[in-house]
Symmetry: T
Subunit: 149 residues, 12 copies
């Protein structure tokens, strides 16, 4: 079973970007933790990061043929990208939305997720742990739906 993990815009800056909000862990460190959890869960993961909305759309459009589920941190696109919402709705795969920070405790415009209504669920506020819980949820969802068996 393969799961696609997508990091949205500006996440390449993790560790350097506003550590009071996003913590000191860099993206590499999160990716290593993801790999460990994937191994523990017995799933294969592919990880991508992009600052380009169009690239994320392309990756999701192509995901259906290869992956059993998607874990996505849409970052800033969470609040602005109807295109990402449409792509995920069209993908036909279980998807989990994750956030490092607690988006419900920040600026008002960050409390609305355009993505949440079309994914299975949302995990927000646990730092890098949000990704690990999200991977766990995605593997569980994929197993129940029988995708990727």
């Amino acid at each position: 079973m393969k799961i696609l993990v997508l990091h949205g815009p500006n996440l390449g800056l993790l560790g350097r970007r506003e550590p009071g909000i996003y913590g000191f862990a860099g993206l590499d460190e999160i990716n290593r933790s993801l790999a460990e959890t994937a191994a523990e869960l017995g799933v294969e993961i592919v990880i991508e990061q992009s600052n380009h909305e169009g690239e994320l759309l392309d990756l999701i459009a192509a995901a259906g043929d290869e992956f059993a589920a998607i874990v996505i941190n849409p970052a800033a696109f969470t609040h602005t990208s109807v295109a990402l919402r449409d792509a995920l709705a069209a993908a036909g795969l279980p998807a989990v939305e994750v956030h490092l920070s607690n988006i419900h405790a920040r600026e008002k415009f960050r409390r609305r997720s355009l993505i949440a209504p079309v994914v299975s669920g949302q995990i927000s506020g646990f730092g890098p742990q949000s990704y690990l819980l999200g991977l766990r949820a995605a593997a569980d969802l994929a197993r129940r739906s029988g995708i990727g068996d």
Copy 2:
């Protein structure tokens, strides 16, 4: 007379994507119908699809020198892209906005088009037929404005 037909984000998934909303026709099928109608109307068409807002902006910026009108299905960008609106307003060409689904009968955020106020008109809800009516309208507008003669 040449008319540019632009398909916005996720439209490459047509036929596979939520057929209850968007129908079973794929993009190729729509493009073939467009070609037939173009032939009937005696106009030449160029068709592009992109998931990248920037590419659509580039195409529109370059359109003025080559095309007499634009038919565009902005898809998700309809509701979020001020940049697309500005590009169309700057293009100096008659433009027609088309939608497969009836966007006025869907989620509230889909009812607002940032694009509509800067194009000539909008056609929404007729499936692939929306494109064909849009092409007809664009040809008519171009003829009246004398562009591309």
Copy 3:
């Protein structure tokens, strides 16, 4: 196959009324163009205009027995008449909403159509051409639904 074409309030003033917005074509001229397009499409049309919301409701209530589709320019009632919406929803016929001007580029209150969510689709902004495209769409919808065969 018979199609009912309904002109809403104040459309009798066309040609005289704010030509900057609605153009110089009078209602008679639009009706003649409609007749020509109907002939081209091989459909029969009946055209009515009324300033009375109640008369439009009566016409729609009676349409089901005689017509295969409706083309309606609800004009000012577009934005205020729940009764017209309910009548069209109850009619059980494919219906197409048309507007001469681009209602999405005008006063804010004109951007909301109470009618659009219950009809098949909306065409707005092409002047008299909106009616002709609307008739074309209505004929297409009626043929697909098999009404009036």
Copy 4:
């Protein structure tokens, strides 16, 4: 004691119109039930239906001289007609607003009644039974106010 029962726009279509919402009972059937309940309550009723707001206004304006109370299903006018509100406020008679469907469980615009603040009370959601409960309430109000004795 005479009570005026008013059916608003499109109610002539009952039984044919969206039976999932309004049920299968036609207006004649509701009127027969009303007659039976009137007989049980010992009141006389006059029943009118109109698609024309102006006709309803005329009927209400004339009601004060003849009737002791009004039962009205304003249908679509519930949400749009300040004129109907003003007419009822001016009538000087107890009035009961009834609805077949539960308007509070439908589209947002149907949840606001312009009529409710000027009538005695509102009954909504019980199908034809709403009328019968409304007639019962109207008879009770008329008796208490001593109108029509």
Copy 5:
């Protein structure tokens, strides 16, 4: 010079209707005062009242050929009728909107006039005197515009 005076819905009830708000003067009494003021101003007036929006639209549509100005109390239609607004905008005549009560001191929905933005001005709150001031304003406007000379 002829001026058309239009009384909107429910104004036939004046004197009987909520006298705390609208005063004890009946419509006949207001019409007599209007006739006196018209005589003083040297203008001819025609007065109409209707509960039917469609009739008011018909009267306004026909006014351009006969009248130099319109004085209108749109009553409840003030707040709901886009059709009346469009008719007045199309009429091409100076128009004055009058109200017996001070609409700015009443329920919130009465504070918005759909009519005011398309007429010359609005007079509100002076009881029957509102009509007389309105007639004076209309005569003045007509004289300045040279209509009806």
Copy 6:
């Protein structure tokens, strides 16, 4: 057939509480009228009043095993209790919402009922008669649904 009648918070104060709004009838008097109407309708009723939202939730959770329908005056909880809404939605019984006063004619926050969208219907504004009509409606609904036979 047994019907549960629930009085929400502060209703124990009836007769003493703001009689201009709620009338002079005390809760005992209303309960006696309910008993008479129940006898007339041939149904058994159990009546409870509580100021504690949690107690109302407990009563509704347990109602499914014993009752065929619920009549509830949620009083202040109408406008604030999502928990009560969820309990009624989960109860799987026909339910009728009643109000002594006309909530649509009072403060703006009283016009929104969180309860109404999940019950069969709402009766508001008839004083103690609201309960009697509500009991009648509940008995009718229970009979039609066959619950409690």
Copy 7:
């Protein structure tokens, strides 16, 4: 009978200020017309202009002992000054609000008058004629109320 006429902020610039909106008449010219109309009506007028809200408050606070009515063009303070509203409400005199331009046809923030709910009525849109109609209305109100006799 003495009537106080108050000109609010920036009205000293009349004739020079945005003549497309406010016309070419200067304040002196308006004051001369006011004097003529006052003479015709047999009333005495005192005219003041101030750019200082506090001065207008002082003038109104002192008006009750000397004047029978107030005609005020609050200009920009119309939309922002609760203090002016409170002063007029406390003055205990009939007051008439006048505007040169049609404030209901301008920017959205100009459509709300904080003053209108506490005065007798509002006259808006007739240029200098607004003042003359306002003086006429004020004299009429003062006579009816018997103030200043």
Copy 8:
């Protein structure tokens, strides 16, 4: 290390209540899964359910002395209880908010959580798995904060 698990109102009905939204698992089944995960994580859990807001407040007020973290499904109180928010903010313990259903994909009023801004994070949409992920997150948070060591 002890963790308090709180089930909010109506959760005692799980399995019976709207299974299309909440699934078929009863509360006992969820509690058993929680016990298994607790064992796996090496933490002790105490589980409470209450329909009474006041009881939940009492439990949280007392939690600080005994527990290292809280997992709470506030259910309906999520959207209405400022008191619960204040109690959790005052508790001085890491807390995790969980929801069975995806609250961001339901009615608009369910999308706002009063609780989320004062807890560490929120997990929503994974059915009973939401609780298990929440317990995992809570244990992780408690370990990092050193509470309960």
Copy 9:
């Protein structure tokens, strides 16, 4: 003269709860200050605290027979409890609303008090002193109204 002092939800945590907002004084300390001020004013006080809205309602419902005034800190219920508002409105006693923190300087949802419109006045922002000022105000109000003499 007896005055009832009510502490709302979570106030038992004072001194421990967010001292940056609520200060370091515990509830016992506030109660002792209240007792001292009561002695100074020559009034008797009874103090209650509850986390249960229903208990506060019960206490207020019973207060009319024993107390001359109420001082209440509704805490979180200030912003959510229509039931508390209704209970206070029904109590027929002068009531004073007090808050330790300046609620007008905190989160937006804390700025709206459902309670304030039905009590005599509100005192907010002075820490424990708010209670002492509130007691003083309540004693003054009770003396003026002659209740409890």
Copy 10:
């Protein structure tokens, strides 16, 4: 210790101005009560009233050198004057906002205080007693902050 007491606009009219809202006490009477309470508290007071926002700003700007606290009834400026808010925020003195009437029970626009977020606290609704409680609170705040010792 010296305390500055500021009366905002129109308060010179007290006793004459809408006594149903503001009571029959004139400003002199309130000032005498303030003097008595000041004597009781052992503080010196200086009292100013102005209808001019600019004068109030000047007084507050100069207050820091002479006074230990400010008691201010901003009256109408409460709701409109950002300048007053900025002046108080800049003053660096404890300040108490007082209102004669219960502003939370009046028109909607009076419920928002621009001043409250920058002062220590607000007292509203107790008539002249609001000033006396405010003076007491100000003296207490000044003593605690050590200003003016």
Copy 11:
């Protein structure tokens, strides 16, 4: 060429007022920098500060005869003074709005400028440098418009 520099309310407090927001430079220091930049640009400047809106209006009304441009920091009046907006719109001079702090990063009510739509442009957030850039912009605008040559 002469340029008028206007400092709005409370700016006399600069250096003492909330230095975290406005910096430590006093108004004298800013005025000296302005004089230096004026000398560099070869323009003459006149600087005024007032806490009185009316004085600012008077200064602007008189500016047209003497000055070629205006630089204004409207401070608190930015958000509340329609009168200032009207004065600037009437002045017929290029005007530049400046702010020391970044008003777009502060309280929501500070983000709306009533002034900005009627001036040439706005400079915000650069401390005293905002004034110097503003003077530069004003000199440039005056030169291009040819005023004051």
Copy 12:
């Protein structure tokens, strides 16, 4: 010291695009002026333009290592791109937002800048001069912060 100047979407069309709003200067011309001002200020500049949001994000992410400040005209992205906001917030560099047109005087949606709250300041409305003032401000900010020394 090096400063990065970023031109957002559609700015490549300058001079051709809506010159009534944006002026006749092309991007090359603006860039030459920037080079001249940079020379005058003794700073080095690098200028980039992109229609692709992702490219702008990449440029900003890489800027921290090379540049001392950023001048950005985010054009259409001003109003829609949370990603751009996040990138600038993460960049750790002084940034200045510039606009050719006065965005506060245009469509409502252009008045809100998502960018402004995270940059040092905003300059809007001075045509190409906005860039030059912005460069001046950026150089000043960089010098004060000591970046790039």
